[in-house]
């Protein structure tokens, strides 16, 4: 038998309601492979509220509790407390939110749970807009992107909120980014998160063909280019201090990433220059933080 680094068990089944080429669906599939059956998912309003399937169906083979848009973190904290009081300390509680439920409406509850160091895994599958309601801008939408609420020629004028830095500032035990183009890495990070007590946050870039105006078959490629262009670097942070940046990947210019998405069709040369400069500045910052934190402690 071949030695698969990723478990063969499928806890996400066919019959779900995702669009073709949905990155969020890939993300769930690999996250559940890593976390296993002893998992409860708390799901705020997001694409996955629909993807999971209508009553009486569910596309995942673990318990799912659907909750209101802004409550992923607070509801998950409650589920964890309830399981603890039942004497179940093994089940992982996964809050599974889109970027709206993380960056915007769910932000307060997320910050509260992070500050309290609640023992949950909060995963954000980031498709960079309110995709379930039909592509409206969120604070995760990048500079220059078209959405239905940032129509041409007034595409988004401000950069994406840096949720990663905000969570790092909460000094939570574990923080990571992941991409559906790197499933081994994603699975490793969820496995690591499962073993750590306290708040864990995993930020997954999850391309959305419908909202990004990209070809469904390009989802994995775009998720890879987001990483390789260093627009979305693969990073882990322990206790908000010890950074580990994945640096051994081939570098690609951001135009490779931008040019395959209709949402960026109206970018000018100057806009692309601004995006490229921003990437370089942030990459340098990240490397400095990695250096400043020093080696990741063995017990982290």
């Amino acid at each position: 038998m071949r030695n698969f680094p990723i478990p063969e068990d499928e806890l996400m089944t066919s019959g779900h309601l995702a669009c073709q080429g949905c990155g969020a669906t890939q993300a769930m599939r690999f996250a559940l492979k890593a976390l296993g059956k002893q998992t409860v998912i708390v799901m705020p309003a997001c694409c996955w509220s629909v993807i999971d399937g209508p009553f009486p169906h569910s596309a995942v083979q673990v318990p799912v509790f659907h909750t209101a848009f802004e409550t992923a973190a607070s509801c998950a904290a409650g589920v964890k407390a309830g399981l603890d009081m039942r004497g179940d300390h093994e089940t992982a509680v996964l809050a599974w939110a889109g970027d709206g439920g993380t960056f915007d409406i769910g932000f307060q509850a997320l910050s509260g749970a992070a500050e309290r160091n609640d023992d949950i895994i909060f995963a954000c599958y980031d498709n960079e807009a309110y995709m379930n309601t039909g592509v409206q801008r969120s604070s995760a939408t990048p500079f220059g992107a078209w959405t239905t609420t940032t129509p041409h020629p007034h595409t988004k004028s401000h950069p994406k909120k840096s949720m990663f830095e905000i969570l790092a500032a909460h000094r939570i035990p574990y923080l990571a980014t992941a991409s559906v183009a790197y499933p081994n890495d994603l699975v490793d990070k969820f496995r690591r998160a499962r073993e750590i007590r306290g708040m864990k946050f995993i930020h997954i870039i999850a391309p959305c063909p419908a909202g990004w105006k990209s070809a469904p078959e390009k989802t994995v490629e775009l998720a890879r280019l987001a990483v390789q262009s260093r627009l979305f670097p693969l990073v882990e942070v322990w206790q908000g201090k010890y950074y580990l940046v994945k640096k051994d990947l081939p570098y690609k210019p951001v135009t490779d990433y931008l040019s395959q998405q209709g949402r960026f069709a109206a970018l000018s040369e100057a806009d692309i220059g601004r995006i490229q400069a921003d990437i370089e500045e942030r990459w340098e910052e990240l490397l400095r933080k990695e250096q400043l934190g020093g080696p990741v402690p063995g017990n982290a």
């Binding site: 059956k37 002893q38 998992t39 409860v40 708390v42 509220s49 629909v50 999971d52 399937g53 209508p54 009553f55 009486p56 169906h57 569910s58 995942v60 083979q61 673990v62 318990p63 799912v64 509790f65 659907h66 909750t67 209101a68 802004e70 409550t71 973190a73 607070s74 509801c75 998950a76 904290a77 409650g78 589920v79 964890k80 407390a81 309830g82 399981l83 603890d84 009081m85 039942r86 089940t91 307060q108 509850a109 910050s111 509260g112 500050e115 309290r116 609640d118």
Partner: protein, 392 residues
Amino acid sequence: MQKVLEGNHAISWGAKASDVKVIAAYPITPQTQIVELLSEMCTSGELDAKFIKVESEHSAMAAVIGSAAAGVRSFTATSSHGLLLMHEMLHWAVGARLPIVLANVNRAVGPPWNIWTDQNDSLSQRDTGLIQIYCESNQEVFDTTLQAFKVAETVSLPAMLVLDAFFLSHTSEIVDVFGADIGKKYLPPFKPVDFLDPDNPKAFGNLTGPDYYYELRHKIHKDHLRAIDVARRADAEFGKTFGRSYGLVEEYRTEGAETILVTSGTITSTARVVIDERRERGEKLGLLKIRLFRPFPLDDVRRVLTRAKKVAVIDRNIGFSIGGIFAQEIRSALWNTRVHVPLFSFIAGIGGRDVTPEVLNEILDIASAVEYPEQETYWIGVKDEELSYTGR
């Protein structure tokens, strides 16, 4: 064991006697003492519960929704704006059929800021599906905490007990309390109908179309109706176990009464005194206290009030333009009875203004003076001249 307790601490003791497992709460005046004492109880270990100190009331309700969904007895407390912030999650707790108990200290809603009592916060939750029980004394507050769990867990619906700001929350009375060891004689450990169980994975709250949603709402309606008798039995059983019971409504000196005054909350205690005095003078007056507001005890209210010639309802709340909210409920309860009883609707005590015996006497004088109300709603004691400074 008898203790001198303010109403807020009577709730904390009630939560402890109910052996709650998860508490999530956020501070707000005049509720704060409830969660302060519960924090101390959790810290000292006398209460074996997790206390999640959330960053808002919305998160408080979301957290106890999570813990109740995980299958443990869950409790929160709030007041006024805190309850209004919870509103969305109250609907969620009802739809998810989770028997959470919430204590709400009735406080007026801003602006302008006002920390004193009135009922518009809790009555604004009328159609969420939350069970609502209004308390008159600190003993009733303690006892009702256990009763609320009993009813909530029997019908799988959340319940709210309600007490007046300051008149109960911060007023000390002698309260007979006990711990969870005695509490469990009445309230056994919570056995959830369903819970988040990795060994039996299910999805809760999925997208549900018109084919099923309608039936799910009908089930809630039926269980609300069932909860009336469940609450009646829970109160009677409490009486059998501890010697105290309150009824869903309470009749006070209604025998032969031609005019029945209807009250809720602490106004009831003052009204008892006024009714006694006027009865001495030979007036045919009685009192009906509404304790259970949701589900509405329609038959009990009809049985008592259709015997009267006049009904006078006091509301410490206002449904702007239509009048007092209890008055509306009672009007509609009396509609299909074939008996026509004139209903006098009085507004008093909003924003914590005292409802003194003088106020109650004025109300009863008005109701006695005429056969039929001359106004749809009487606002008692409005200082019109002072209002004119707003420039209009």
